[in-house]
């Protein structure tokens, strides 16, 4: 292990807006801490000892926890994974083992560290390029291109007439009087029919009975319909008999003869 713990603990404070993600002494996550530890081995990442790195990480975490500092969960997850990796590296591989070998796990970790370092290098290379507004400038006095939009209004003749009609109709003071129809209720029709037939035992056409009511054209339909419906009801009750000898022929009615008791 190189470097002293105090040196690590003195790491720079993180910016305030990132503080949630930096739980261990200025490191941005376990991978960042691992990369820093790896760099302290002062060798190329390709030549690094993953086993030594895992041990360093575990002892670092232990020391931090000894100081009763809360350690964020992801650091602990990494610690558990590294402990597992350590055991895989130290215990000889068993045949028919489904799990990845310690060497493969180590290679994966090494790859992730190399990739993170590569991205950091890329970021710093990007930053050191001549940047717009810092070394390279755009036009200081841009002359905005003007696009004058001229509207061509569109309306059809039909829309024009529709607009006019709709307004006039809206404006016309119309008094709304609901049209009330005279409707014969079934009860009315039944009472009237009973009265008209009386005790007549002769076949007489329904229209003949209703003659005086059918004079008003707009009442004809309701008078006929209600009377016919009532007549059926009277037939059911055994009051009258109904007969029609041909389709559309006159409907004949008569009082039903009562059985002599």
């Amino acid at each position: 292990m190189t470097g002293s713990l105090t040196e690590w603990l003195d790491a720079e404070a993180p910016p305030a807006d990132e503080v949630l993600h930096v739980d261990v002494d200025g490191y941005e996550g376990p991978l960042d801490l691992l990369l820093d530890l790896a760099r302290r081995q002062k060798v190329d990442l390709a030549a690094i000892s993953i086993l030594a790195l895992a041990e360093q990480y575990l002892s670092f975490i232990d020391r931090v926890r000894e100081r009763r500092i809360e350690v964020a969960a992801d650091y602990l997850v990494m610690a558990a994974w590294l402990a597992y990796l350590k055991s895989r590296l130290m215990v000889p591989q068993v045949q028919d083992d489904d799990e990845p070998s310690g060497e493969m796990l180590a290679a994966m970790l090494q790859f992730r560290l190399k990739r993170l370092e590569a991205m950091r290098l890329a970021a710093s290379r990007l930053l050191s390029r001549p940047r717009l507004g810092l070394q390279i400038y755009s036009r200081g006095a841009p002359e905005p291109l003007e696009v004058a939009r001229k509207s061509i209004w569109e309306a059809s003749y039909y829309e024009l007439l529709k607009a006019y009609s709709a307004q006039r109709e809206r404006g016309a003071v119309t008094e709304y009087r609901p049209y009330t129809r005279t409707v014969w209720s079934l009860q009315d029709a039944r009472d009237i029919l009973q009265r008209l037939i009386g005790e007549s035992a002769d076949w007489i056409a329904m229209d003949t009975y209703l003659e005086q009511y059918l004079a008003k054209p707009d009442e004809r339909a309701t008078v006929r319909a209600s009377t016919f419906a009532s007549s059926l009801e009277l037939v059911r009750q055994g009051e009258i008999e109904v007969r029609q000898s041909e389709t559309f022929g006159p409907i004949l009615l008569r009082r039903r003869k009562r059985e002599q008791p």
């Binding site: 209004w153 309306a155 006019y164 109709e169």
Partner: protein, 218 residues
């Protein structure tokens, strides 16, 4: 010879610096402001003159503004950079209704239009109809307040495919087309639009008449 080459290179670099400076600056620059960037030995007036000549026939010119210098797009291209784009837009309902009323009831004052519509007519609506070229101020009604009378234009007839205003359909035709329902009070009249120059109760507009003053919240 190599001295001349060297001098030429220095001069070229000075020109490039001036070019970049003038391009990037948001304000025109004075010689004094440019001087620190170019170095002491430079003959700025000569360099600026050279740069001006270089850009004289280009799309961008080096122009003098008082004692300062700036790049500006060439004046003769100005109109090109201000492009006009035409855009077809449907007339709003308010504009369409107002137009229809003016067409049938002309000559109509704003108050008369509002009476038919039942709502106020915004200034924007009138402006659109006038801009479209379909409505014009005809004159002023010879009544108190001398309100402006509006009417339609030939362009209106043209757009809607009418030969005369009298081609506008009347009451029966509107009913026949199903545009008016048949249950309307018999008192409802559809006016015959007035097609002539000026009515008896209209005065001509004075040449400098700007029309009704309309309040902003109208």
């Amino acid at each position: 010879m190599s001295d001349e080459n060297f001098e030429g290179e220095v001069r070229q670099r000075q020109l490039r610096i001036l070019e970049a400076l003038l391009f990037a600056s948001s304000e025109p620059l004075s010689l004094a402001e440019m001087s620190p960037y170019v170095g002491d030995g430079a003959n700025l007036p000569v360099l600026i003159e050279e740069l001006r000549a270089l850009y004289a026939n280009r799309g961008v010119n080096l122009v003098r503004r008082g004692d300062r210098w700036a790049f500006r797009t060439a004046e003769d291209l100005g109109f090109l950079l201000r492009r006009e784009e035409e855009e077809t837009r449907p007339l709003s309902r308010a504009a369409l209704e107002t137009l229809a009323i003016i067409a049938y009831h002309q000559p109509a004052t704003r108050a008369e239009i509002e009476e038919v519509r039942g709502v106020a007519v915004g200034k924007g609506t009138m402006d659109i109809l006038m801009e479209a070229g379909w409505v014009r101020m005809r004159g002023r009604r010879r009544t108190p307040g001398r309100p402006v009378t509006y009417g339609t234009t030939d362009a209106f007839l043209d757009h809607f495919g009418l030969e005369h205003l009298s081609d506008l359909p009347g009451l029966d035709e509107l009913k026949g087309a199903g545009l008016l329902s048949s249950r309307l009070p018999p008192s409802l009249q559809i006016p015959l639009p007035f097609d002539g120059a000026l009515r008896d109760d209209e005065d001509p507009l004075a040449p400098d008449d700007q029309g009704d003053a309309v309040s902003d919240d109208d």
